[in-house]
């Protein structure tokens, strides 16, 4: 194991003794640790983190999670989004007893897959989401201990979604949890991955999660991500989908937890006829901050990307949206559309939204639009005249605003579960 001069707040994690690992991984970890030591935790001078203050993360000496209390199936039942297969990580550690992985479903602990030797991991782990993506991605690669590996076999269609539940317990207090999810979809494979971040306790911790997806030609992957962690926590999430010819990746991300939540969602369209859909909704209250940084790399011609993110903000909460679209010179006939719409429920909520289109091809269709608005008084009055007053009218209008993106979740029971989560949160927000 290589030892490097660790950054103090993460020293314990970086220097933690690790079981023997394959040489390829040790080398990648070392490079990642070196990179993190060089760049450190971003400050607000960093353009990518201008509105998202994370420097305070460096003020705490984060530990590995302690021994988790016992978690039962009943504890997690209420969080489930589907009835399909389930992989549970408790405080970042794969929990086989809570997981339900029927035969035929290729899913396992990342730690186990690494020990057993896995060619896909060797060719991709830590490279799909490169350490240059963010200092935290480098930190993740340097420090992760476990995660989940999912494989959708070539030519198969998953009957039910694969659900990955990242659960934190009281043992997460003061800890940095760095789970990694690695998904491969074989040629023509179809399926849905549900990734959820939930907390059993109101702990102050850091989740530094990285999800890598590799989509083979003509695969179809729906990726639903629900983040509802403890509102004391820092949530740092990085997702990268690497897409081959004629693959389809549709992402839906719901963010309503954490004190500060950052999600980088990147997709590289590495073949022709690729389709990338990114939908999202963030609901923030109190002094929460929800930040989405998406990046769509149109590296090949004849591809489509479509992105719609919406946000509802209350109290003194903030949202940041940055949508990057890069269209390479060869990526002719690119069709890219991006929309970010925000609804402010208070005078003190704030949104910083910025499209960032860098287009180097000339025969393309790229559009973007961003809005920040309030509830429409005339609509409210119209509802009142129909007997729908006060809070009911407010809730109906907010729902009308938000529900549009929820319809993009294609699996009906999952959509219904997400609708319920959103309704419950709106209910709480309107108090």
């Amino acid at each position: 194991m290589t030892t490097i001069a660790a950054v103090p707040p993460f020293a314990e994690l970086l220097d933690a003794p690790r079981p023997a690992e394959p040489a390829w991984l040790a080398a990648r970890r070392a490079a990642a640790a070196e990179r993190f030591a060089a760049v450190g935790v971003p400050s607000s001078r960093d353009e990518d983190w201008r509105f998202t203050p994370v420097s305070a993360i460096a003020n705490t000496a984060w530990t590995a999670p302690g021994v988790s209390p016992e978690v039962t199936a009943a504890d997690i039942a209420r969080f489930r989004l589907s009835t399909g297969s389930l992989a549970v990580l408790v405080d970042g550690r794969f929990a086989p007893d809570l997981s339900e992985l029927p035969a035929g479903v290729t899913a396992s602990s990342l730690h186990a897959a690494i020990s057993e030797g896995n060619a896909e991991l060797e060719s991709h782990l830590g490279l799909v989401a490169p350490i240059a993506m963010s200092p935290f991605v480098a930190l993740s690669l340097a420090t992760f201990t476990d995660g989940v590996v999912l494989h959708l076999a070539e030519g198969t269609t998953l009957a039910t979604p694969l659900e990955v539940m990242h659960l934190t317990t009281t043992a997460a207090e003061g800890a940095l949890i760095a789970p990694r999810v690695f998904v491969t979809a074989g040629t023509g494979a179809r399926g849905a991955i549900l990734e959820q971040f939930v907390s059993l306790a109101d702990t102050l911790h850091v989740t530094n999660a990285v999800t890598e997806l590799v989509l083979a030609p003509e695969s179809w992957v729906e990726h639903v991500r629900v983040q509802r962690e403890s509102e004391q926590a820092w949530h740092l999430g990085f997702t990268h989908a690497e897409q081959a010819t004629a693959s389809h990746y549709r992402s839906f991300a719901l963010s309503l937890g954490a004190k500060l939540a950052r999600h980088n969602l990147h997709a590289r369209l590495g073949g022709e006829q690729v389709e990338t859909l990114m939908y999202g909704l963030y609901l923030t209250r109190d002094s929460q901050l929800a930040d989405t940084h998406s990046a769509i790399f149109h590296d090949q011609p004849n591809c489509n990307s479509w992105e719609v993110y919406k946000g509802v903000l209350d109290d003194t909460s903030r949202a940041v949206f940055n949508g990057k679209v890069f269209v390479q010179p060869i990526a002719q006939k690119t069709d890219a559309k991006q929309t970010n719409r925000n609804l402010l429920l208070s005078d003190t909520a704030r949104v910083d939204t910025k499209p960032q289109l860098e287009i180097f091809a000339d025969d393309v269709k790229c559009t973007h639009g961003a809005t920040v608005g309030r509830l429409n008084d005339l609509q409210r009055y119209y509802l009142q005249t129909r007997g729908i007053g006060g809070r009911t009218a407010q809730e109906l209008l907010i729902w009308a605003f938000a529900a549009e993106v929820l319809t993009e979740v294609t699996i009906a029971p999952v959509r219904a579960a997400i609708e319920q989560i959103v309704r419950n949160r709106l209910d709480e927000m309107l108090g």
């Binding site: 729908i388 007053g389 109906l396």
Partner: protein, 255 residues
Amino acid sequence: MSLLNITNLHAAVDESEILKGISLTVNAGEVHAIMGPNGSGKSTLAQVLAGHPAYEVTQGTVTLEGEDLLDMEAEERAWAGVFLAFQYPVEIPGVTNAYFLRMAYNEVRKARGLDELDPMEFLDLLEEKLKVVEWGPEIMERAVNFGFSGGEKKRNEILQMAVLEPKLAILDETDSGLDIDALRIVADGVNKLRSPERAIILVTHYQRLLDYIVPDFVHVLAGGKIVKSGGKELALELEAKGYEWLTGIPEAAAV
């Protein structure tokens, strides 16, 4: 007791007075037509009755069945039985017509201490109400007024009225923008809802509508006041002579 009693009503928006002393009594079972030049205050009167927050009542009283209407929020007026068909119906993207109508119906029922209907029960009721405006169920899955044609929006207002069964229906230029068939459908719809318990105030510019829905009284509003009231023959007289003989202002200047 009369259903609606308006006494010396003055209303202003941004400190400029628009209604300048309106008095009007409407009994259950009656149909009153309100006519008058553009900008005379007809929609303002309708909106003040419905409870639009932009208009400030500076003087006068309005009662519905003896209750102070001006003291109620707009939704409370709806619960009490007031319905306004808007001159410009409002679009609500993201809310289906079916959901909206059921919610409105149930909110009104709830406020009146009646049982709410579940979606299936409401569907049966809706089927009946759709007949009033000669519409199929397709329109129900579209967002409220969103992308509706001008005529469809007006028809949707009448559908809402049919569902909510108000005591006092105020129709603000529901006939404007309708083709001849739609005008007949809307007028038939209104006639079906005429009843001894219900009063209707029709704001219109055209005799055409009054051929279908024959009013008991016609009032002319000009400069924020009712300058003349009469029977249905007053509308015919206005059609022939215009408003100038009543207002003293040449037609063009009144616009």
